[in-house]
Amino acid sequence: MSTPRYSIPGSAPSVPPRDPEGPGAAIAQAPDAMERARSVAAVLAESQVEQVLADLDRDLVGLAPVKQRIRDIAALLVIDKLRMNLGLQAETPSMHMSFTGNPGTGKTTVALRMAEILHRLGYVRKGHLVAVTRDDLVGQYIGHTAPKTKEVLKKAMGGVLFIDEAYYLYRPENERDYGQEAIEILLQVMENQRDDLVVILAGYKDRMETFFRSNPGLSSRIAHHLDFPDYSVDELQQIAERMLAQRHYRFGAGAREIFHQYLERRIQQPHFANARSVRNALDRARLRQASRLFAERDRELGRDDLTTLLPADLLASRVFAEGSAGEATP
């Protein structure tokens, strides 16, 4: 902004204002280099999106179909950018998505990464994620819903609006429910302000399908339906090891196998929430480890003692005790 964007009549010759809505301006770093890019490699280098994709591959276990879909989306955006640079017609593709999958399959985590990728590729201007649920959108009395929904939408502009458990918006059993109003406002913005924000609806698969069936307008405006598969036991084991490593814990001798058995049993039980259940199980193991160490008042505790989870910490779980019992209490 070294040259003024305005002109005073009769003074210096006016500077034609650069269009801030233009495609290049959306990228914070070096918009000019981005506009001159002619090859895929140039766009990738300029947007540093490859870094995010690599992080996604490395940090998230499993989820192969989701990762593939995200790569496809990234490829489309890169090619569109190149088309735009050559002045070809590049209609802004609709990027609204729905994430369906069982609890704990990484929907929120992927949404965060998605915001980052879309930002790097210049599809959204700011790249922040606003996560909301029904309570944030739907009001409690007549005339309360519209301002509430609009306020949330305004906050999400330039980024990604993530609506968790979106099916709660629509309550067919109550015809005076205000959820429908929120959906209508949402639809309007999804259609008319595609450049300004990306909406991601998330929820359990079966209930999302019912939700879409009763709101066909919503379903047809969502271009990408991503289904998050459940994790296999091996993937869960990997997730557990990563979680432990992050918190500076590790499995002691024999504990890894015990945890594998634990997962095999736990996965059969009701209320299994994939990665979330793994995290809870590990949290409970940490509790047991803490009380085990706490009991030995006079022992001097070294680094190994404090970071190691022993088989005993895992075997105390109710999953092993009862076999067929429900969710072990956290």
Binding site: Y6, E21, K126, E151, K155, M157, G159, Q193, D196
Partner: protein, 145 residues
């Protein structure tokens, strides 16, 4: 204030310049958001220079990240109050400042008739002066139509 060469009221920033385009307004809003200001839209149809407190159009917009949301509010205000004065106001909520840091007019009536000088004869040979906008002779909401 009254005899100004542009023949338009001049309040806040940029008011001696030609009207800002929407792109320029967006750029100003973007600047404010980067600084962490909360924007709000205000309107009035009383152009008197002492009319400091204009009517708020909706709530001040806190926690916004992008100018698109503010521009949407401005578009709605323009639609509702055509031919009114509309200004953008940026509030800095930093402790110790907590006041308006930016303010500029983004919408004006098509014609601004200006102000007349009124003289009131008081005790002795005293004369009291005041200004009155020609527009305010008519009732609210009919002043610039």
């Amino acid at each position: 204030m009254i005899t100004n060469p542009t023949g338009r009221i001049t309040q806040g920033q940029f008011s001696f310049l030609p009207d800002l385009t929407d792109d320029e307004i967006t750029a100003q809003i973007e600047y404010g958001l980067r600084k962490g200001y909360a924007w709000s839209v205000e309107y009035t149809d009383d152009p008197h220079p002492r009319n400091t407190y204009w009517d708020m159009f909706g709530m001040p917009m806190f926690d916004l990240r992008d100018a698109a949301g503010v521009m949407q509010e401005l578009r709605e205000c323009r639609k509702t109050f055509q031919g009114h004065y509309i200004r953008m106001v940026a509030f800095d909520s930093t402790r110790g400042i907590e006041s308006i840091t930016m303010s500029f007019i983004v919408n004006r009536p098509p014609t601004e008739p200006g102000f007349g000088l009124e003289r009131q004869e008081a005790e002795g040979r005293t004369l009291r002066y005041t200004v009155k906008s020609y527009a305010t002779d008519r009732p609210e909401n009919e002043r610039y139509s």
